[in-house]
Amino acid sequence: MFTMLRRRAVSSVIPLLVVVLGVFFLARLTGDPANLYLPLSATPEMRAEFSARNGFDQPLVNQFGDYLVQVAHLDFGESLRTAQSASGAVLRAFPATLQLAGWTMLLAIVGAVVIGSLAAYRPNSATDRIASFLSSTAASVPDFWFAIMGVLVFAVTLGWLPTSGTSGAAAWVLPVTTLLIRPFGVLVQVVRGAMVSALSAPYVKVARSKGANEVRVVFGHALRNAAAPALTVAGDLAVGLVNGAVVVETIFGWPGIGKLMIDSVLQRDFAVLQAAVLLTALVIFALNILVDICHAILDPRVRQRAAA
């Protein structure tokens, strides 16, 4: 197990470096922050002073080198906008997104296991057809549109839910539902597919031939075998939640990392953007490792391969 984790961590270093590098240079290509932060009437001297103060006058390679040294000392620089530490801004925004994403994935996984298993239990039955159609629709709904429709119906017309904010349980309903709908739709289909093949496997017949009731057959025997593909997809979907978070947090004014990233791109707030992306990338790698660990817990064959 530890061999596997170590190998995983080592092989993550290069992709992480690439991500950091990419963000660093791409962000600097978005233009000179001086244009944004100094008045149009600023003199060349003021611009030079601004650049020098923020280190933008150095060659890009030097800037990157300095940045890496700083990061190694856990110093992520200062926000151009607020002059506060970038890491502080990111860490403040992060829990909001993490909570949102956590609830979303939890609900999506639980819901998908229940509905996907029901659909797979009798392939091509009415339940299956309805579940398949609804889930493929759910997977195809644009999240921003769903959010707007939610606001239109439940906030504007019915007045049941607030349009934005994070206070109170009601404020969570629309953001979580919006974020949920795509992963849920995809997961239902994956769970259904995996369960259909698991339920037609010989070991399921053997379980039935031992007199196991259907609950035991479905949840005791089939589900654990069907979990592997669903887990892989759930991991990918969790990564994709960052995309959703950008949209959802923008619409609902949710003070999370997605909104922070978009804002810092638009504001050329390099330090904050870099810190946010770096943290996101780290979380994604951690998530991938978590998925691997779950695979190993679920399947002894994976465990054996990991140990070898």
């Binding site: 991500v19 978005t30 195809s140 921003f144 549109w145 007199g211």
Partner: protein, 731 residues
């Protein structure tokens, strides 16, 4: 005499054998085979209403995109400030305003059509780019393996680990938002998806033998990829592309919505939603309709992709024909519907009732006299028809010459029929099979693959796939009809009443549970034992079937055992609750000869130890000769001959049995050509009329084409379904 027999059975009103025969041959029209591949696709598409609708919608969207500019001119962009925010669903101002107008007075319907063009002009090139680049790259990487594969996969990892929307935001912000910029970013972001899929599939192909062959011929790698890899990988990739089309469309609309995608005055659906958001309270329709357009288009692409996946996967195609995946209770069809087949089954049953003591209506007298040795006797109305079945398992007749003659049949299967539901209607795969087995006895169900022997066993055990269905017959376990039981009663008998050993022990054992837990399960379920007690019993069982170090091995997983040990485990699991009947479905096929012998010895020991009735399903004549007491030879879904093994093998009463025996290499045939039965077993969809074997039979005459032979007694405890069975017996 034989013709008279059939005539009599007709006049007795029990069935229309010739009609039945004609029916069987006419089910598959020859025209079916000449349809072109393209027509076949179209036919498959037309079968699925959802897929049809999806195709029509996508064609509609494409037409809008292509013809849109001609249709609407500048309607989409011309502002009409005198007339803003017009309500939808009114034709007063022309069709363009049927979906209302926005705050600048531009008609929503016209803008939707204009946006279709923009949306497709982004999505289609983006998908094509990533499809072409990603799949070629992936096939190349997978085909060569090694560092090329590793580097490619690492690159894919890097791209995928970065949220694509954020990448698009940053890049578009750098290079100023434009349609071509979106195409580029989305194409790059999606390349890894194709790369991974193509790599996985071509790496799998790489290991196949025919690729080695191609390499030895010196075929260049690109030629190999084009000829061998691409055609195999392409269907999967196209399915991925259809799903990806949704993703690209959704991302484009998200970007446009966020203000960094399509820029005004161009218009895309996402942009329309963004514009509509500002006026949500006053005019909802501006945001609703473009969103619906996105949903409908993406759902159509998803449905089409799902259909394509189903249609290109022959293994899944049968699901199309499934109406209802019902497992469990038997649904008996109306007598009239399957009258022809049932009546022939009834006749078979009648004969078996004579030949098998378990169903003998008059339990008196010695077997030879009692059995309808003369064909005329067989045509006598017998009560053992499925419709008018008498109380099951009457007192059995003693059967002289049979070693287990004094005990009643533990399992008596009676004219069992199983259909598989397909798109082209039900296909009968088991057609009136009857056999009986007593405790302590081994009955072999012998037949070639596809003859329905496994299907018979699974039907009896209640383990048929959802597509298969029992349509008639009984399976009496000590007098209780298994096929008529409810699920709960059935479960109660599964284990202590009837158990089954599967062919492939690796797939029959749950890969993610320890073998100890799986062996303990019968005790946990039926005897409600504690985990610890059940575990102890499991270890005892493992010791009994000869697994060394059972105590420590109980915590191991199936993949950690050898094939022979796995089969032992499976047998242990089946005999855990001392079943009355053990069905062994090709228990040794996957094993080598030495292990085979050990497993068969184990089964034999357990059989006599526990006084089980053993049904051995096999295609191995040697196994039957060595281990079975009686044999039922199956062909094309029916039993063609039954009897004690030594007698049947010594003097077969059916040409098929004889053909089987002659095709076994033997000492006395040394130096001569090995006999084999010409032809191959019939397709269950088009079993020939009359006798199913007549096409391959050296004795076939005109009679065989018109009259289906039924199982008729040919001697003591013997029966054969051949018009000349008696002649063969007497010869």
């Amino acid at each position: 005499m034989l013709q008279k027999n059939n005539g009599q059975s007709d006049s007795a009103g029990s069935g229309d054998v010739p009609e039945d025969a004609g029916d069987g041959s006419g089910t598959t029209p020859a025209a079916d085979q000449v349809v072109t591949a393209r027509r076949k696709w179209l036919a498959l598409l037309l079968q699925d209403r959802f897929a049809c609708a999806a195709v029509l919608i996508l064609i509609g969207v494409a037409l809008c995109a292509v013809l849109g500019p001609l249709l609407i001119g500048d309607l989409a962009t011309r502002q009409n400030l005198r007339d803003p925010g017009r309500e939808p669903f009114s034709l007063d101002h022309g069709w363009a305003f049927v979906l209302g107008s926005d705050s600048l007075g531009r008609p929503v319907a016209a803008r939707l059509i204009a946006a279709a063009g923009t949306t497709l002009s982004v999505a289609v090139p983006a998908v094509l780019c990533s499809l072409v680049v990603g799949s070629v790259w992936g096939m190349w990487a997978g085909f060569h393996g090694g560092w090329r594969e590793n580097v490619s996969l690492r690159i894919a990892d890097v791209i995928l680990s970065f949220p694509s929307l954020l990448l698009a935001v940053v890049v578009l912000y750098v290079f100023s938002p434009s349609a071509s910029g979106i195409v580029l970013v989305l194409a790059v972001a999606r390349i890894p998806v194709y790369l991974r899929t193509a790599r996985a599939e071509s790496a799998e192909l790489r290991s196949r033998l025919f690729m080695d062959a191609a390499r030895t011929f010196g075929t260049s790698s690109w030629a190999s990829i084009r000829r061998h890899v691409a055609p195999t990988v392409l269907p999967t990739l196209l399915t991925v592309a259809a799903l990806d089309f949704c993703f690209v469309m959704l991302t484009e609309s998200s970007l446009s919505f966020l203000g960094i995608g399509i820029q005004p005055p161009d218009v895309s659906w996402g942009l329309m939603v963004a514009q509509g958001r500002q006026e949500l309270q006053s005019s909802w329709w501006i945001a609703v309709f473009p969103g619906l357009a996105i949903v409908v288009t993406t759902v159509s692409a998803t449905v089409l992709a799902a259909w394509a996946r189903l249609a290109t996967d022959p293994g899944q195609r049968w699901r199309h024909g499934l109406r209802r995946g019902g497992r469990g209770r038997l649904r008996r069809p109306a007598t009239g519907a399957n009258g022809a087949r049932q009546s022939s089954a009834a006749e078979t049953a009648a004969v078996v009732a004579g030949a098998e003591p378990a169903h003998s209506p008059a339990p008196s007298g010695p077997e030879i006299e009692h059995a309808p040795a003369v064909p005329e006797a067989e045509a006598e109305p017998t009560p053992a028809t499925p419709e008018a079945a008498p109380a099951p398992a009457p007192a059995p007749a003693p059967a002289p010459g049979d070693h287990a003659s004094t005990s009643p049949a533990t399992l008596a299967v009676d004219s069992l029929s199983v259909d598989i539901r397909t798109a082209a209607g039900p296909v009968p795969v088991v057609r009136g099979v009857s056999f009986a087995v007593r405790s302590g006895e081994t009955l072999a169900l012998l037949g070639e693959s596809g003859c329905g022997k496994s299907m018979t066993a699974h039907a009896v055990a209640g383990l048929l796939d959802p597509a298969a269905e029992v349509v008639g017959g009984q399976a009496l376990l000590e007098g209780e009809d298994l096929l008529g039981l409810g699920a709960r009663a059935r479960r109660r008998l599964a284990g202590p009443g009837l158990a089954i050993v599967f062919q492939d022990a690796l797939s029959a054992l749950n890969p993610v549970q320890t073998v100890g837990a799986q062996l303990a399960e019968p005790f946990r379920i039926h005897e409600r034992m504690s985990r610890r007690a059940a575990r102890a019993r499991a270890v005892e069982l493992m010791e009994r079937v000869g697994i060394p170090e059972a105590r420590s091995r109980a915590g191991a997983y199936p993949h950690q055992f050898s094939g022979g040990m796995r089969q032992r485990l499976l047998i242990a699991m089946a005999v855990a609750l001392r079943p009355k009947v053990l069905l062994a479905d090709e228990p040794t096929t996957a094993l080598d000869v030495t292990v085979q012998a050990q497993i068969m010895d184990l089964l034999r020991e357990l059989r006599s130890e526990q006084r089980m009735a053993l049904v051995l399903i096999t295609h191995d004549l040697g196994l039957v000769a060595e281990h079975a007491d009686r044999v039922a030879v199956m062909y094309a879904g029916t039993v063609v001959e039954t009897g004690p093994v030594a007698e049947v093998f010594g003097k077969p009463n059916h040409p098929y049995t004889r053909g089987l025996l002659e095709s076994v290499p033997a000492e006395q045939h040394k130096g001569t050509r090995l006999n084999s039965i010409p032809g191959s077993p019939p397709d269950p969809r088009s079993v020939p009329s009359g006798c199913a074997f007549r096409m391959r039979c050296p004795m076939a005459r005109d009679l065989c084409a018109t009259h289906r032979p039924v199982l008729a007694a040919t001697g003591a405890g013997r029966a054969a379904a051949c018009h000349f069975g008696k002649e063969l017996a007497d010869a």
